[in-house]
Symmetry: C2
Subunit: 439 residues, 2 copies
């Protein structure tokens, strides 16, 4: 569950050896601890002429008491490219990153803002805006030293709704998120947000919460102020109770594949909490076999637990969700790229993406968002059991040269669950350190 | 320019050594030669209940004289999943591939047909259809021995317009295309197609045609019946003339970055050929440097040649394109995933995707399609100069364990250029052997 090599490579003697032998050099990631400032130093903000986002972002950084001069070194390079309407006008972006790439501190952040290509006024503008994806992903692979890079597409009219996302991306909460494209749309109103405890007063359900990523999600949502209902199968009851007790939440033992599980769950949430605001579908299983060797039971169980049960539970819980409700499903990079020996798992996790994308427009009118996170290589008991070679490939083949931690997935979910993330729906955000393995 | 290891591994002594030492074992790919039948043996067609595609595909295979019984071994496994309206109903797909995975011959083909999620009647159906992507990509990684796997989404009403795509995917023309999702939409009419020489009577412009991938494109389009106008910069005039003479085409020396290049090109095409039907934007350059070390000239030149010049030429040539016209742009997997040291190149190649996606709906009313192909690791003079380690990573990190050849890119372009591909527009098809390196 720990990355001994990374720990060693960051020790005194380890650093020397790693450098001499040219071994991979995974940087220690800057992760959030309560009370941490958003960033450790000043942020440099640049813009191409005519941008819509620079003003609101500067205002937000001022409110958050983030210094915007005094560098280098810069803790983040933020560029507003929404003013770019033609490929030739991408030049100022080159100038900005050319001049400042070396002045970004270790663990730094790169955020590029653009306009969603579909919202652009001309094909020339859409083309230039789409080009930003190639730039940002290349920067993510190039800058190194634990830095991350993302492209944030902000729909016209949504300029004031980026705070939650900028705060997440600048902070240590997004340590293992890199190379992502995030889409922020217009919302009718932006609720006031308590940035220290954004989920205060919310009831959050987390399935599969007894251990690993699910337990981390429960802990982080509770840290952020939520009353957490931690759910897992009865067989995991003991571990579940420990998690629930630790975070002052409620344990709920339930087998989600039972036909009456959705109605039982809805009834329990209403009777014990009177509401549910945030639903996190984390419960999932693997039954890895090549499809030639896979039994019908192995296929059906994975599809049912990982996908169909999410659909059935949504049917029962969506009517209970208030305006501002949130659904977050855990997908997987295997669902995006496919994986040998995981036809069942990849099918179910690709289906989760379909679920999120097809439900987002249906839920939008009631002010409910639905998103997916797709973890890459995360250090868990499951990955600790992988063969050494496969584990090392998974760990090192990403822009951060290391696996992520369960808390990295949990922080990403907490960001999407926050009231300030109202403009984000139908997104799939990988938590994979910009994993190089795709398809 | 050749993969000596792959040649060795497929020799008699090589096969023994590769097996004993557990070395990578790149299969010899089945590539198309004129006169080849579509497949070497019978094709197995399956369907989930209620599918729309099985009937038309069986009819097409019958017309093409492809046997549908007599196996195993099967040369292809084709499954119509358009009838699946719920994740639980994915089970017949598991049954089909579970039962027949081992009966697929080496160099076999897997094609799964689905309904575009956005065209589905319910979120349940959209979810199940989206899940097919995880299945197909996993199969691509799992089946091995030079086999490929694709997912083809067919819009309702487009069932009769799949012939061109099925023929391409079954044949040796698609040898290096795997793990792709192809979208076929409705078209007003399906022109009769001469499958032996689909481009008979068409005039095709190929930029950057003097060598490498561009020369291969010129050759394949000529083989398929087109009158090819092979264009390159004056400095490449000698090589260009050789290619043009070889294929009975016309050589056109022109620097596409000159301001008058688009109008000159349009005038030349009209005066010498009276028309242009197919435009292939292949000309491209690299100027690799990390952005901190990259000069402004290196940024600007790559964006201008690879992206802006395509836009300017389109402006001049689109008015000339008749109904049935085709534009095909060469993008790159670097434009999709980003690449260290290629911020300029990846920006330009991501922009090409934006160009294709933003222009497709604008060109649709005039019956013109626009698509991109994105080559992965292709054996060219450029990749032959790469350092050994990087070259071997690029070559082996894909589901076919080898680099592709220029002809693989050319065949994919020829498929998109064919009259029968009228339903395909706004697509980005990678020619990368299902490269594992993504983002």
């Amino acid at each position: 569950m720990s990355d001994r090599y990374a720990n060693f490579a960051n020790s005194g003697p380890g650093r020397v050896l790693v450098k001499r032998l040219g071994l991979p050099n995974p940087p220690m990631l800057r992760r959030y601890r309560p009370g941490d400032p958003l960033v450790r130093g000043p942020v440099l903000v640049g813009a191409a002429p005519g941008g819509r986002i620079e003003g609101p972002v500067r205002k937000m950084l001022t409110v958050a008491e983030v210094p915007m001069d005094g560098g280098p070194p810069w803790s983040a390079l933020v560029f507003d490219a929404t003013g770019v309407t033609d490929a030739a006008a991408l030049h100022p972006i080159y100038e900005f990153f050319h001049a400042n790439a070396r002045a970004l501190a270790g663990g730094g952040r790169v955020i590029v803002f653009g306009t969603p290509p579909a919202a652009c006024a001309s094909p020339r503008e859409a083309t230039a805006q789409r080009a930003l994806e190639g730039l940002t992903r290349s920067i993510g692979k190039e800058f190194g030293r634990g830095s991350t890079a993302q492209l944030v597409y902000v729909a016209p009219g949504a300029e004031e709704f980026t705070d939650s996302t900028v705060r997440f991306l600048l902070s240590g909460r997004s340590a293992y998120v890199s190379g992502q494209v995030i889409w922020i749309g217009q919302v009718s109103s932006s609720p006031l947000t308590n940035w220290a405890r954004p989920l205060e007063g919310k009831v959050a359900l987390v399935t599969g919460a007894a251990q690993g990523i699910g337990a981390a999600i429960a802990r982080v949502l509770a840290r952020d102020g939520a009353s957490v209902v931690a759910l897992d199968v009865p067989a995991a009851g003991e571990a579940l109770a420990l998690v629930a007790n630790e975070i002052g939440g409620t344990a709920l033992q339930l087998d989600l594949t039972r036909p009456d599980a959705p109605s039982t769950l809805a009834a329990q949430l209403l009777s014990r909490h009177g509401r549910v605001d945030v639903v996190v579908h984390n419960a999932g299983i693997t039954r890895d076999k090549t499809i030639a060797k896979m039994s019908a039971e192995q296929w059906d169980a994975v599809v049912d637990v990982n996908l169909s049960s999410q659909e059935r539970i949504n049917d029962a819980l969506i009517p209970l969700l208030p305006e501002g409700g949130r659904i977050i499903s855990v997908s997987s990079t295997s669902g995006i790229a496919g994986n040998r020996g995981q036809t069942n798992y990849a099918t179910s996790k690709a289906g989760v993406i379909g679920l999120v994308q097809s439900m987002a427009p249906i839920l939008a009118p009631q002010g409910v968002t639905i998103n997916a996170v797709a973890p890459g290589f995360i250090e868990t008991r499951m990955t600790a059991r992988m063969p050494l070679a496969a584990r090392e490939v998974g760990r090192r083949m990403n822009s951060l040269s290391q696996g992520g931690l369960p808390i990295d997935v949990a922080e990403t979910i907490a960001w999407l669950a926050a009231p300030g993330s109202a403009g984000i729906t139908g997104n799939v955000v990988r938590v994979c350190g910009q994993m190089w393995l795709g398809a």
